[in-house]
Amino acid sequence: MNDKKYWKYFENFNSEDRNLELKQQEFSEKVTEEFRIENLNTLSRRKFLALSTATLAITTTACNDYRDKGAIVPYNKKPENVLPGIANYYASTCTACSHRCGILIKTREGRPIKVDGNPDHPVSKGKICSVGQANILNLYSPERYKKPLKKSGGKFSEIEWQSAFNEILQIFKRANASGKEIALITNPIYSPSFFAVLNRLQQNYPTTKIYVYEYFGEYAKAIAWEKCYGTPNFADYDFSKAKVIVAIESNFLGNEGNFVRNVREFAQNRNVDNPQHFSRFYSFETDLTLTGANADYRIPLPASKHFGLLASVLNEIVTNHSHKLTSNFPKEQLLQFSRNFNLHQFAKENGINPSLLTQMIQELVANQGKSVIISGATLPVEIHILTNLLNEILGNNVLLRSKAQPLIGLNKLEDFGELVRKVNDDKIGLLVNFDVNPVFHFPKDLGFEMVFAKVPVVTFTESETETAMLSNFVIPISHNFESWGDWITSDGDYSTQQPVIEPLFGTYQKEDFILGIIEGQLIRDEYHKFIMSYWRSEIYPNVNPGVDFEVFWHSVLHDGVVNSPAALSSLSKLNYDVVKELTPSISSGGWLLLLKKSYNNGDGKYLNNGWLNELPHPITKVTWDNYVAISEPSAKALEVNNGDILEITRNGKKLEIPVFIVPGIPNNCLVIETGFGRKNAGVIGNGVGFDPMVLADFATVSNGYVFSDVKARQTGKHYELASTVEHHSLNDTFVKDLSKTRRIVQEGTVEEFLDGKFKIHRAEDLRSIIPEIKYSGVKWAMVIDMNKCIGCGDCVTACNVENNVPVVGKEQVLRGREMQWIRIDTYFSGSQNNPSISFQTMLCQHCDDAPCENVCPVVATNHSPDGLNQMVYNRCVGTRYCSNNCPFKVRRFNFYDYRDHFANGFFYQDSLKLMQNPEVTVRSRGVMEKCTFCVQRISEARQKATEDGRPLKGTDVKTACQEACPTEAIVFGDMHDKDSELYYWRNHKLGYYVLEELNVKPNVTYISRLRNKNSEDIS
């Protein structure tokens, strides 16, 4: 060792310095000599330590099960604007339906994890529906297509993007060269940039024709408006100004029209601090809808009688009240039509209290220009015409809001019949399904499936659809959150859509592909450049913001919206000649069938979304299915019960579908929701529900979805429907009105309240043997205003997304093991044929003396100093004692590892792992869980307050449910903050606790619902 001389620098080489030696040896002589294990003959302290350390090192590494998971990428070079652990929010536009609500997408470390409304958006004002929120699951869906598919020999095979593009480009060119039509089917176009793209496409390929349709589009209403006002572009009402609302089969609070805005405006007139300004709401309907459930007066009426109702109301107004009306109308012309319809006779024939109808008419007349009559999308043209007539003579059109129209609106449905004919005549060179699913959407008698054998078909889609399965080429497209876009809001402003994540599966956005076809070359991000240049040349000069385009563009992207100076068109006068052709198109007698839009599935696209399938139906709480809703007497007549399969026949078309008995549906009526029963939806959606569109005729759907020539009979077969609640007949005296007698729901009328007669029942003289715990500082509490809560379930979806709530599947819901932390309880009271419906949002009440806490053997559930009832998942053994002892039954137990158990480990697939909120523990099997009052948000706010050096305030925190509630029914905050909104509501005279007598001291206060009806009408 001493023979060679080691050196590092020249100085070292020549130096005889002792340091050199030291460098070679590393340890000084004495140290190393002493520390030679072999030289130590006894077990010295050093030897012992050395050996034990070595043993420890060997044993720990030997037992380590670390597997190399590939490259580890630290944030050495931090991506711009990304801080680990800090969320970023990006404004964008929701494309889940055609209403284009503004959204804020929350991203963590570059992955979108939550979608909320954009508060700056003028139309949706910070709120979106369940579908929009759950859309995030579609983004991460492992079932999205990754590569283009080409069908050859009846089988699909993956091909490269470039070759798919080239082949399709050739088909375009061939079709164009041969003069054959290129048919592009899409949904209504509201995007100015994409409109420009389509124009360029038509310039380059002149034979291109754009076909626009919408599943369950409001065709009948459009036709009625065309006849009345000369334009198919109907407008929406401003419900915030409506004092009297009459809904005819309209579900404007549930799923019709721009319901997010409707709900908000409707709830503005449900403020208990202003009871004089409560609107009065009448609903006449066949189905029991969310809207009807929120009406002050809900009158069950078969759809075949709506014509008679409106006509006799018209007659009554024109005959007896015309002198009070301020509008000008041809009285004689109207009377000529209406004189055959007598209100009293109508009321008598249909078992309606005539004084109720006269009261309604008086109120309508008294509130001219401040009332709304609205008819549902399912109804035929003549009802919409009658509605328009009534609104016109009552002067209600001042409440109509001018509305931006689509740049390419709906085609007439006949055009699609024409399209099929053209295919048969070999006049079509290429059919492009641009993110639409016409095979599923159109009634089967159109024969749309037949065209696929005759023309090349290219389908753009995110994942499997019925249409894609029949196409020659399937082009995967990027999700909304991976794409650029721009939109016109319904108020005529512009909103933008920006990608918040790189395409997960390397897809192109669909507009990129069309631009590629135009330019002959597929380039990623081309549409982004196109939008920017379009905005620079077209929109920027119009808006004229007075800043640089770059600055303008970035501020628009930041805000998500920009006001447009463009004026919207106003409404013309009604053409009273329409009254001449008014005849009812629905005959009465026999079974009446109504098809309705689904609440959660959109046009069926979201049937493959587990969260939405498991979101209970707002009325019946059925999940994972649709059904035919019928009344109890009708079920008796057919000898069926819940779940028994009914065979419905119409013109030789047949549908077998299970029955669900719903109170408040008129006898001999069948109501089915659409968007179910898909064959190629994906692993989750296949086999969910039944498709009632098989009963519809293509020729008549533009005149609504009410069919009178229907037969129904029982089949003797049975099907399990998974409802999250037990259903009892309202004739069952044993359980009747328990929600009222147990004072779970306390309700009164506005009249009683104003007279001071309505007193909330509060438990008095409650004593506890437990010493009261004094809380200081912030103590969290919640108030839910039952006047504003409409029972939509948006809070449930928001909670699911925020808190990583698993999907359990139908079979587990059947077992009663749904996992949602917050639920909407629906209570029926009154009579079976005309029940009164009460909603109650139920979540963990965070009781001060929580009965769950003292029974947990391991203190896994306990109380925080700020009043939260908290769960320590790691400590939980899973005895379920807490759940048994919870009077509200809001605790949820992981009977399985649901991410693994549901659909063969569906949620354990790689892409879905990215979806989880990193701030919330993903719970394992065998653990109890429940609402935490969004403790992760509280912690975040507390951290921020500490950083800012100020005390935490109750208003710093918004829970996910509160944020999502479209009516602001949920208030959350610090009960010790005397200036806060929460404090005010918590001590409101209409506030009460559920099951107060138990003295568990809940921290969720409910504000009693007041119904705006005469006290004597309370059943």
Partner: protein, 454 residues
């Protein structure tokens, strides 16, 4: 008819005045002979049941308790029903061996050993359920107050922790009591056996017993102390088990009658089980003279008495539900009788209250086939009593929105069968491993063994 019966004279406990050596022979016979094929068949059946349960349990551990029927309102179901049922079965043994010992009931000698053994086996079976019914059974250790580096401690306000102490204390004391009673018998066996291996084992476990006067003196004193120690446990264990329910706020559970009602029910079912098993054992091993018909009749009388206590409790529950004026309470009881689970309620009432009334007739009390059937029915009824209490109560509580119907799955039933398999396997192994009747105690009650005073 001669009705002049002298009630001061106790009837003979052991019939026919057998000699002491013949008692030795009779009781030690199963231990010294080769088991017959019937024994193996019985062991095979109970072993198969045990295996079925073990497989079902294995699946439950692997996939999760989702394999059971438990759901959202019904967090506790068949496993807890089984737990309470088996703890109840375990009550007869200590009652017979401790309380009846203190009361100087000499007829207990023939059945005490067996009843005590059944107590231990039943408590072992019962003790499994609180551990396996948890969502994460591998963490069941959290239920014990074990010091740990996290400074985590159990929650002493939770009745489940009281259960842990009550059941483990009961098991320990019962076992010690049983073992102490076995020592003189083990010594007898040690002296009788020809086998070297057995000799070593018996020698170790008989702790050097030489039947000396001094030994007997200490033994009697210890036995008396242990009997005194075990007596309150008979009452406390099921009282504390009933606290699992009574301490909660669930209407139908939250009642003060539960402790006495549970204890009476436990003795009721325990006696029925002991009676059933002894009927078989005395027949097989030809010890009808030691476990006599008089003894069985006395057990039937106890069952009649406790059955009526249970029936009284059923009645009082309804009275209080009505008398308290609490609508939630009255709803629960109305629902038990007429609701979804009315079938279970009526099985319970007919088996526990109605059929046992037949024991008013002496002929039936002394008719072995009929008393056997009634004994079986009592246990069916008592199992359903726990079913009604646990499941029907949970399925409909405060908020109608959260009600739900519970249906057991095949796995639930498999585990129930497995619990019977475990219990009977232990019983069957016991009858070939240890004397099923206390040899020394029986000798002491044979006519002529006692000091005579002429």
């Amino acid at each position: 008819m001669n009705i002049e019966i002298d009630y001061t004279v106790e009837p003979e406990v052991v019939k026919n005045q057998p000699s002491h050596s013949s008692v030795n022979d009779a009781i030690a016979a199963p231990l010294e002979t080769k088991p017959s094929i019937k024994y193996y068949i019985a062991l095979g059946i109970s072993g198969s049941l045990l295996l079925t349960g073990a497989i079902c349990l294995g699946f439950s551990f692997y996939y999760g308790v989702g394999l059971w029927g438990n759901n959202q309102p019904v967090g506790w179901a068949i496993p807890i029903v089984n737990f309470v049922f088996w703890v109840g079965i375990g009550h007869a043994g200590t009652l017979i061996s401790a309380i009846l010992f203190l009361f100087r009931q000499r007829w207990r000698t023939g059945i005490a050993r067996f009843a005590e053994a059944m107590t231990i086996f039943a408590v072992i079976t019962a003790g499994l359920f609180p551990l396996i019914h948890t969502g994460r059974p591998w963490l069941a250790g959290y239920l014990f107050p074990l010091p740990n580096q996290h400074h985590l401690w159990v929650n002493f306000t939770s009745p489940l922790i009281w259960d842990v102490f009550a059941v483990s204390t009961y098991l320990t004391v019962s076992f010690v009591f049983w073992y102490v009673g076995l020592i003189p018998d083990l010594a007898i066996l040690r002296d009788r056996t020809q086998s070297k291996v057995k000799k070593i084992i018996y020698s170790i476990f008989s702790l050097g017993w030489r039947h000396s006067n001094r030994h007997w003196h200490h033994y009697e004193m210890l036995y008396l102390i242990l009997a005194g120690f075990a007596t309150p446990l008979v009452l406390s264990v099921h009282t504390i088990v009933s606290f699992d329910f009574a301490v909660s706020i669930v209407p139908g559970w939250h009642t003060t009658i539960f402790p006495p009602y549970f204890v009476a029910g436990a003795i009721f079912s325990g006696f029925a089980m002991v009676q059933n098993v002894l009927i078989v054992v005395r027949k097989i091993f030809h010890i009808e003279h030691i476990i006599s018909l008089d003894t069985l009749e006395k057990m039937n009388k106890v069952m009649l008495a406790t059955g009526m206590m249970v029936g009284y409790a059923y009645g009082v529950e309804f009275f209080i539900a009505w008398y308290s004026g609490n609508p939630l309470e009255s709803f629960v009881f109305f629902n038990r009788v007429f609701g979804n689970y009315a079938w279970a309620y009526w099985i319970m009432v007919s088996c526990n209250v109605i059929f046992t009334q037949l024991f008013w007739f002496k002929k039936i009390r002394r008719n072995i086939p009929i008393m056997f059937v009634i004994g079986v029915l009592v246990n069916v009824g008592m199992w359903f009593e726990r079913f009604v209490i646990v499941i029907s109560t949970l399925s409909k509580d405060f908020l109608p929105s959260s009600w739900g119907y519970y249906k057991p799955t095949l796995v639930d039933i498999g585990i129930l069968l497995g619990s019977f398999g475990l219990f009977f396997t232990l019983v069957i192994l016991f009858i070939r491993a240890l004397p099923v009747v206390s040899i020394s105690e029986v000798k002491a009650v044979i006519k002529g063994s006692q000091p005579q005073h002429h």
